[in-house]
Subunit: 213 residues, 4 copies
DNA sequence: CATGAATGAGCTTTCATTCAT
DNA sequence: AATGAATGAAAGCTCATTCAT
């Protein structure tokens, strides 16, 4: 575990206050984000991260308790960025007057753009998710916010769409989009993006539209 | 990534011919499958596997080149089992006369059952998929077969459903079901299974059904 | 602390059963005993011990949980040897007929010989004693046995000596001898050994002897 | 044993002249004394000391060449204090007319009081003594002074006591008292203090007193 | 003078893999 | 064939010490 098994109190993790320190911490996070995205969590070690960040291992450990803590910070921050950049102004003005299909398409495109922020990093999150409850937690929180967003959109469209169980519908819409985007960006499908996006739009459109007489 | 002490001529991996050997190899695979499913690939080490299999580490390495090779064998075999047990007799006799909704529902249930074979093992596969091309390959092959299955079903229903781009539709159906099952079984949703399955069925039904005039 | 912070079960410490293993474990203990005696506990590291024992670090850790566990095993075994070799046949036949001064002298010589087994190792024990409760415990147990020995001798001499509080007397005798031997062998006094042993004998003799009328 | 990064010209250690500097140095020593006493030398690190002293690590190293130099300064100063506070006015007026037993008792009590100044710090000294010649040196010097004190007392009592080899006797008296006090205060005996002090007094009394006819 | 962030050698510990028995 | 002790490269982490600010 540690250098001296009989050693006493663990040194505190430094909270950077000065500009330079903050930058350094950012540099470490950026380097780690890149490496984790490329190779996954386990195959990357602290020396590699420090090296890539142009920082000493000692610095690494003065900013982060351990590799795992670094990962969690990165993920949390990543999801914040994700949310801020993509979902804070999710819909253009006047969207309520749009055609249903347009709305769906617009939302899908938004999600695609969000994913493009750093598909590789998403890849890493997905690979950790299943065995790390803390990573899972961050992930769940992020998903929840996105579902709320969709729910508010659906509420606005209530009259124009055909939905019985709104929460189930929200889940279905959210996860279908996430699923396609995920497969498109992370699992390297053989089919063209436009073809799939188009089909997804069709599926959701038929699912939601009110049956004409 | 090898950490062994001395370079040297690597012994060939043995192909077991005798009954006892085959059983031993199976025991190792079974033990590893369980451990990988529980903890993931990286956190399990070869000693643990050998111990759990009641076999010596030496035996382990006479049957498998390394930990990774073991993983691939397990995954391959797993998908074979998956396919055999679930998709070889996928549909009951007379399904073609069923109602579209019934067919969808039936297929979803089949997939659910397949997943239940060993959700934890799927979990592990998903966590490896993203960084290991060989795991990915096995996974892709399996998915391909499943898509073919769906394609043949759709072909049979051609007249009763509304599909433009059949391959895109196949993908959409397959991945939507996989997605919901995956979230239901591996990501611990808060909603009840029946509710989501029902919504999924509705979505696919509306997506596929011919619009009535 | 550990190589993988997310790792699971710690490998068991191996209990050597075969001759060769037992010898190897002994070799490690012998090497460590020597190094600890020379430099103390903290300044010696596990690589040095392994090197000195002609063994790999890996082996070191397969026989001992950590450096501390090794220390405790060594100390325990050391005190066993100490007891066996020196105190199991402490007094020659017919000692009860000896002169009191002779008995005292004899006992002191016994203790001296015991110390000479490995003064340096005692040095190390003393240096750890004060901060390590586990080392202290082993040490206390050993002292207790030695005091019991003295008590039995005193009981045999009851009529010939002048003792009010027997347990206090036992303590005084035991600790006075231990003290002089300790200072003589570990603290490098400038005075000649014989001179001090002689004075110690005198002190204890006067302390114990019945006042003549 | 240095672990610093780059070789270079080492800055001289500053000798503080201003009041504030002297106070700062004292603060460091006081903090270190406390920490060393609590945990021993090795398990305390320079950051902890600086933190506890409310001083920067940089300051620490401008006042002390290294951790070891700090230790030596503390020990030296400690022994000075020890000597000043306890042995500069060692005996009350008129002690020469006291009963021998009273003198012995008085001296023992003095030593006890001295020890109580900071038993924990003594503990630390003892644990370092064995492996560090410099600590040993300071310790020896202090002991020497105390033996001289006893020698002068014995000289004064020459006629009333029975001593052949005066230096050996001084050693015996000094070390017996130190031994009992040490065991009492640092090794946590199970017996009551008064009982042991009483027995020690008896032993020394019988050792020294002139045999009555 | 003071600060405390930064350094990196060095320590503890693990584990994939080998090979003598 | 089977065993499991042995190996040692490599990972995680610490802390004495320096030096830019």
């Amino acid at each position: 575990m540690s250098r001296g098994s009989m050693a006493g109190i663990k040194q505190e993790v430094r909270i950077p206050r000065q500009q330079r320190s903050i930058e350094k911490k950012q540099r470490i996070k950026a380097a780690a984000e890149k490496l984790f995205a490329e190779k996954g969590f386990y195959p990357v070690n602290s020396n590699q991260i420090a090296l890539a960040a142009g920082v000493s291992v000692g610095s690494f450990y003065s900013y982060f308790k351990d590799k795992k803590a670094l990962l969690l910070e990165i993920i949390t921050e990543f999801h914040q960025r994700f949310q801020t950049e993509v979902f804070s102004q999710p819909m253009e003005k006047g969207w309520k007057d749009w055609d249903l299909k347009e709305i769906i398409r617009y939302y899908i495109n938004n999600t695609l753009k969000a994913f493009e922020l750093s598909p590789d990093f998403f890849r890493m999150i997905y690979s950790m998710l299943y065995y790390d409850p803390e990573v899972k937690e961050v992930f769940d929180a992020a998903e929840k916010k996105e579902r709320e967003q969709i729910k508010s959109i659906l509420s606005n469209l209530k009259r124009r769409i055909c939905v019985q169980d709104i929460d189930a519908a929200v889940f279905m819409i959210y996860s279908s989009i996430a699923n396609v985007v995920h497969r498109l960006k992370l699992l390297g499908l053989q089919m063209e993006e436009e073809r799939l996006i188009s089909e997804l739009t069709t599926m959701l459109y038929r699912y939601l539209k009110k049956d004409t007489i």
